[in-house]
């Protein structure tokens, strides 16, 4: 097998379930016999603030943090957060973004405006962007909370792991009673990705 190395950044709003996504990715890499480091955020920023998780996979991973301009993939649970973290992407990097918009407090109070086209930032010019309504897909799969699995489904189209490997990593990472919903959400993200790429 060709060496697998990639840097990935996951961003979102505290409480959206970004930690489960990185847990599954870490497990997937470990099961595949790859070196992996995952850097998480705990504590204060989890109360509805911006959150970021770094995932580095490969044989010579040292720092647990992805450097600016080095990410192969940016997985964003929310549109504005995707724009905020866009600088992490390398030139050929791919942004996979949930189109859901969550207003930060300054927008809620009317002090600032949520950008009309949040993804219209210079860092995303000429970048490959795959946008999907992961919230809707998650609801269709049976739970709003499964946004993370929808986005992972879409990401899975780009990564060289087998379907069995994904299923295995998901099965050991999610609570048993939510497994069915999560697998459905993953599949819906995975198939929606294929559709989007054919557009």
């Amino acid at each position: 097998m060709k060496a697998i190395n990639f840097d990935l950044v996951i961003v979102g709003v505290g409480g959206q379930g970004t930690l489960l996504a990185s847990k599954i990715l870490g497990r997937l890499a470990l099961d595949a016999g790859l070196g992996v480091k995952v850097s998480e955020v705990h504590g204060m920023s989890q109360r509805g603030g911006s959150v970021i998780t770094h995932v580095r996979v490969g044989d010579s991973v040292h720092s647990p943090l992805v450097s600016t301009g080095n990410a192969d993939y940016l997985l964003s649970f929310e549109a504005l957060e995707g724009a905020r973290a866009a600088g992490y992407l390398k030139p050929e990097g791919i942004l996979i973004v949930n189109t859901q918009r969550i207003s930060p407090m300054s927008v809620i109070t009317g002090a600032t405006k949520y950008p009309e086209n949040p993804l219209n930032v210079p860092e995303l010019k000429e970048k490959k962007v795959e946008a999907l309504d992961a919230l809707q897909l998650a609801e269709n799969a049976g739970s709003q909370k499964a946004v993370n699995l929808v986005l992972l489904g879409k990401l899975s189209c780009h990564l060289p792991f087998s379907d069995e490997a994904w299923q295995q990593a998901i099965a050991v990472s999610v609570p048993r009673k939510t497994l069915e919903v999560n697998v459905r959400a993953f599949e819906s993200g995975r198939t929606s990705a294929v559709a989007a790429m054919n557009v």
């Binding site: 470990l30 504590g43 204060m44 509805g48 044989d59 600088g87 809620i108 109070t109 009317g110 709003q144």
Partner: protein, 591 residues
């Protein structure tokens, strides 16, 4: 080039060893468990909390939350004295609280091995300062180990117990956020059942009166001199010669950044950051052209290396602010240009009080009365941010009460009629009680507001002595806050529901007006734990007056001509309906 720890872990897995992807914190817990730890006592604090939570899952270990870090360190010391391997875990500022027992435990030494795990927070992801706990190792003459990934967290944790017993000293295990909260592969081992050591009465060793302490201080010095020499051969201080034009001395997370930023540089990776292996450093320095010290926060290693007459550079490149990273090192040492940010301004997203948070009602009422707020450490510190902006000062755990008292002594008693000291239940237990005693004893007129949400919130919902449960979730005796305050001599203790804004305002008005110390307990469980299903609220006929916006609720959003309530966020607390002057907000149907 040596194989990375990760690859070694993978190879171990291929040979059948059990490998798991673990947080540094979980790996510290695992290492302690494998090393036979029997007693763990801690107070939660980011980024250290998960160590104690992870150890609590092992049935062989007696694990409990303590009211604060000082008590935790004393309990761990007592367990060591009674022959058990023991551990206490805390965040960097927790070491300030625990410093008193720790400094003298360095004199007495240990019976069972004792490890003090402290997690620093460079860049202050969730802290009020970025103090460098390596200073404590120097000041207290206690050895300090610093792991650089989860495997080392497991290994060093186990090693620390062994060192503690062999050297007869507590041992510090220092983490930083990027080690504590990063996952990487760990080879799992079995638990070694370490027999309890017999308990001996030995006053010369354990009773620290001047006569005994003077003798023990000599022992401290001898031990440190021995260890400083032994450090030169210590297996966790590792020299790797690569290109010898540049040599880097580093430790912990910084080692990882160095390996990524300067992959060809020779390295001396310090597994023990105090005391330093000066001969090893001299030898390393003699083999490399330019010697660079890469350390986060303070330049401690650099200063000691320079003091030993070895020429080196360090803080000149990295400065003392925040955390380092691969890109920061590349930029500082190699002059690599950092990618430029576009400068496009996006609305920031700081953390906020959750929808349905009981603290919201308190700060709404406080703002309405225009009170000054001496604040404290907890979720409620978020009320300092706009639009609530309801905090004047926040220093450390429990400081609110002392600050209010000091302000009164400076400005006079009238000042206290416009001021409240605000702190949470866990923070009050941690270090607010003695300040309340001070306020009563010194005849102050302050008003203390205890936000009793029945849990330690910000660190992720840990039980505390007032919550009625222990670390395992089992029923535990609960401190009765009302009775506690009364027995401190407070005559006016009032309990109020912070969802009831009228009552909240009334009690604030009455209690701040008193010419003596009074306590208000605003009691309601944390919104994230209160599973009561309540109908959500709806707006009809909004006049866009903005009264409800003063609540600063994430579920209430301003649009051009009206306000909307986000049904997916609304928690049904109903505070907005209480503040709407047009009665446009009503209970809706859906729960």
């Amino acid at each position: 080039m040596g194989k990375s720890e990760l690859i070694q872990a993978q190879e171990a897995e291929a040979k059948g060893a059990d490998v798991s992807l673990m947080l540094g914190n979980e790996a510290v817990a695992r290492g302690a468990w494998e090393a036979g730890v029997k007693v763990v006592s801690s107070y939660p604090g980011t980024p250290s909390t998960e160590i104690t939570e992870a150890i609590a899952k092992f049935a062989e270990v007696n694990v409990q939350w303590a009211p604060n870090e000082k008590v935790a360190a004393e309990v761990a010391f007592g367990a060591s004295l009674a022959g058990a391997r023991s551990m206490t875990c805390m965040k960097h500022v927790g070491v300030n609280v625990a410093a008193d027992p720790i400094f003298t435990a360095a004199y007495t030494g240990v019976n069972g091995g004792m490890v003090i795990c402290c997690a620093d927070d460079p860049a202050m992801h969730s802290s009020q300062n970025e103090q460098d706990s390596r200073y404590y190792a120097r000041a207290a003459h206690i050895p300090m180990l610093e792991p650089a990934d989860s495997q080392e967290c497991r290994d060093f944790s186990a090693l620390a117990f062994q060192m503690s017993e062999e050297l007869d000293t507590p041992v510090f295990l220092r983490l930083t956020t990027r080690i504590a909260h990063a996952r990487s592969a760990v080879r799992l081992g079995e638990r070694a059942e370490i027999a309890l050591k017999p308990y001996h009465k030995d006053a010369m060793k354990y009773v620290m009166m001047p006569g005994m302490a003077r003798k023990r201080h000599l022992e401290v010095q001898k031990r440190e001199e021995f260890l400083a020499e032994a450090a030169n051969q210590l297996s966790i201080n590792v020299v790797k010669l690569r290109d010898t034009a540049v040599g880097v001395i580093t430790s912990g997370a910084c080692y990882q950044y160095v390996r990524d930023a300067l992959p060809n540089a020779s390295t001396l990776k310090l597994g023990m950051v105090y005391p330093l292996p000066i001969k090893l450093i001299e030898n390393f320095a003699s083999k490399v052209g330019k010697l660079i010290i890469v350390e986060e926060l303070e330049g401690l290693i650099e200063r000691d290396v320079k003091a030993a007459g070895i020429s080196c550079e360090g803080k000149k490149y990295t400065g003392i602010q925040g955390e380092l990273s691969t890109e920061r090192l590349k930029s500082a040492i190699l002059g690599t240009k950092l990618p430029e940010a576009s400068g496009q301004e996006l609305p920031a997203r700081p953390p906020v009080l959750c929808p349905g948070c009981p603290h919201r009602g308190v700060f709404y009422a406080v703002n309405k009365l225009g009170l000054r707020v001496m604040g404290d450490i907890g979720c409620y510190t978020l009320a300092a941010l706009p639009p609530l902006s309801a905090m004047d000062a926040c220093l450390c755990m429990g400081a609110s009460i002392g600050m209010a008292g000091g302000a009164e002594r400076a400005q006079g008693r009238e000042f206290s009629k416009g001021t409240v000291a605000v702190l949470g239940d866990s923070t009050f237990i941690h270090s607010g009680i003695t300040s309340l005693v001070d306020a009563v004893y010194n005849r102050e007129a302050i008003t203390v507001l205890i936000l009793d949400n029945r849990i330690t919130g910000m660190t992720g919902h840990q039980q505390n002595p007032a919550s009625g449960k222990d670390i395992h979730g089992n029923p535990a005796p609960a401190v009765n806050l009302e009775k506690l305050c009364e027995s401190c001599g407070v005559e006016h203790v009032t309990v109020v529901d912070p969802f009831d804004l009228k009552a909240m305002e009334k009690v604030l008005r009455e209690e701040t007006a008193r010419d003596e110390v009074s306590v208000i307990i605003a009691r309601r469980p944390c919104a994230l734990l209160d599973k009561t299903a309540r109908p959500i609220f709806e707006i009809e006929g909004c006049k866009n007056c903005g009264a409800c916006m003063k609540l600063s609720c994430p579920a209430i959003e301003r649009r051009e001509s009206h306000v909307i309530i986000n049904p997916t966020l609304c928690n049904g607390c109903g505070m907005c309906a209480q503040v709407c002057p047009f009665h446009a907000i009503r209970e809706g149907g859906r729960a």
